[in-house]
């Protein structure tokens, strides 16, 4: 069976390579601390579940300190000259699209057609993490096809991956650390506290105010937590179910659907949803880390207002 563990191993090895290549790269002004950062991340992928949790916590703090005090830098990127790239683009033509499109295509096939395929007793792909495992297989297939098409080695692929990882720098680990914070918030009862504050200090004796508090609360809570899934139970439990469904007789399906979409309006506006908003800014070489959020606000705010009215008029 192909499981997530295999890909943790693979990503761990990729980070070992990134750390090693940075360590010997004299064009990187911070090559030792950079190598330490990626080396620690590699260790946590390779052996994370075998280390005592408190030690993992310490290593995570160490990574954060290295990143926070500008210890993660990049070497001089070895990008191929423009003319060479253009010439190879002419020569390979539209065949270049084949490996790129294999990525979504194989992922999709894995998640649908190969879902029930078995090797002996075991399923071929881990059913618990089907999409991710399919994506992993697709990435290997695409890399293979790209190597075959361009007559290069997987090692060159690793070098290119290092170039992209270096360009994104610490933004690679930000979503991961935010997810950790989200779990800690849940454990410490932040959700309960927020629900307590909103429900005890805002009067909801008008139907419209109650709807607005519910939708805006969803968005605000998501802005703070970075994740609509964390906001939904809190706002649905605090306002949606007792007030909207209980007092105003709202249809629970409409309340839930539009409530979740209001949370997504929040996701579009928060740096806490780093994998959607901050990582793409790094991936696209944008100097302003909040550029994607800025581009999304003119969609998110009118949509939040629209949600309030949709819920108000559709809930009964």
């Amino acid at each position: 069976m192909i499981t997530l563990e295999h890909f943790y191993l693979l990503v761990g090895l990729l980070f070992v390579a990134v750390a090693g290549m940075n360590l010997v790269d004299r064009s990187n002004p911070r090559r030792f601390s950079t190598a330490l950062f990626w080396g620690l991340y590699a260790l946590l992928y390779l052996a994370g579940e075998r280390l005592p949790p408190a030690l993992v916590g310490v290593l995570m703090l160490l990574m954060a300190l290295v990143a926070g005090f500008k210890g993660v830098a990049a070497g001089k990127a070895k990008v191929r000259p423009d003319e060479e790239r253009r010439a190879s683009s002419e020569q390979l033509g539209n065949r270049l699209f084949i490996p790129a499109l294999l990525l979504p295509l194989v992922t999709m096939l894995g998640a649908t057609l190969f879902k029930d395929m078995h090797v002996g007793e075991l399923p071929l792909l881990d059913p618990k993490h089907l999409t991710l495992v399919s994506l992993g297989v697709a990435a290997l297939v695409a890399l293979g096809a790209a190597c075959w098409l361009t007559r290069s080695t997987p090692l060159q692929g690793v070098r290119e991956a290092r170039r992209l990882v270096d360009a994104m720098s610490w933004a690679v680990v930000l979503p991961h650390m935010l997810a950790v914070l989200g779990l800690l918030f849940t454990e410490a009862g932040v959700g309960k506290a927020v629900a307590h504050v909103t429900t005890s200090y805002i009067g909801m004796d008008s139907r419209f105010v109650a709807v607005a508090v519910f939708c805006i609360g969803m968005a605000l809570f998501t802005i703070v937590m970075g994740n609509g899934f964390a906001a939904f139970p809190v706002m649905a439990g605090g306002v949606g179910i007792p007030v909207l469904v209980g007092s105003y007789g709202a249809n629970p399906a409409v309340m839930a659907a539009i409530g979740m979409f209001s949370a997504y309006c929040g996701t579009l506006m928060t740096p806490m949803a780093a994998n959607f908003n901050i990582v793409p800014a790094a991936l696209l070489d944008l100097p302003d880390k909040n550029a994607v959020i800025r581009a999304q606000i003119p969609t998110a705010l009118p949509l939040l207002v629209a949600n309030i009215f949709l819920l108000y008029f559709l809930m009964n």
Binding site: L96, A146, E160, G189, V245, N251, M260, L283, L284
Partner: protein, 230 residues
């Protein structure tokens, strides 16, 4: 009666807000918020560290979506994938950045609504194909682009992927959010049909498409305004 809810963990939220407002390094803000939240919940240091560690190991699946495609995409870029995508779009005379992104928004939202969320994504589609094509469509029309406008087009390409994904996937019945909502409502004793819940999302999904498409036509208008006066 005194409230049993401990409000101190809200300090963690305050740290996040203050940190982002003061533009402290985001990684440090997150770590500080972790510490403050843990102390406010009266957890001992070792328990905080153990919680952080356990959570870190548990969430290792999250960065995989970003990391796994990098080797293939990087290699293809080295051999001119972006240049190829740009050459292909430059041949379409009627293409503009805004129109191209509206087509992508439609494709992304409808495919996500059909459960095919992996057909897009920032590392797999936006960086290698969508963003370069949107830039090239503008260059084919007006010649060279000022950097600020190039960055704006890229940011809109990333935004379009997000909007299409978020407001498409939630009307797919088997999506995690629908399952989550059903579980939570069930715990409160309310039975809801998942298909009904998915259908209730359609008005918002359409509104999201209309609003974002309108913003994309405004992008075209801005490009025209800035580049035609040169």
């Amino acid at each position: 009666m005194q409230s049993a809810v401990n409000l101190w963990p809200l300090l963690g939220v305050a740290v996040i807000v203050a940190g982002f407002l003061l533009r402290v390094h985001p990684v440090l803000v997150v770590v500080a918020a972790c510490g403050v939240t843990g102390f406010a919940a009266a957890m001992p240091v070792e328990a905080i560290l153990a919680s952080l560690g356990a959570a870190f190991v548990k969430t290792r699946n999250l960065p995989l979506i970003l990391l796994l495609p990098l080797a293939a995409i990087g290699l293809l870029e080295r051999f001119g994938l972006r240049e190829r995508a740009q050459a292909a779009i430059a041949k379409v005379k009627s293409a503009t950045a805004g129109r191209l992104l509206i087509v992508y928004l439609f494709a992304r939202e409808t495919s996500a609504a059909a459960g095919l969320t992996s057909l897009g994504g920032h590392p797999t589609m936006v960086r290698p194909l969508v963003a370069p094509m949107a830039e090239a469509a503008t260059e084919a029309q007006y010649g060279s682009l000022p950097e600020s406008l190039r960055h704006r087009i890229r940011a809109m390409a990333a935004a379009t992927d997000n909007v299409g994904l978020f407001f498409g996937e939630d009307i797919f019945v088997a999506f995690g959010a629908i399952v989550l909502m059903q579980t939570i409502l069930q715990a409160e004793g309310i039975a809801v049909n998942p298909l009904h819940m998915a259908l209730c999302g359609i008005p918002t999904a359409i509104t999201a498409f209309v609003i974002h498409a309108w913003n994309l036509t405004r992008l075209d208008a801005r490009i025209r305004r800035e580049l035609e006066k040169r």
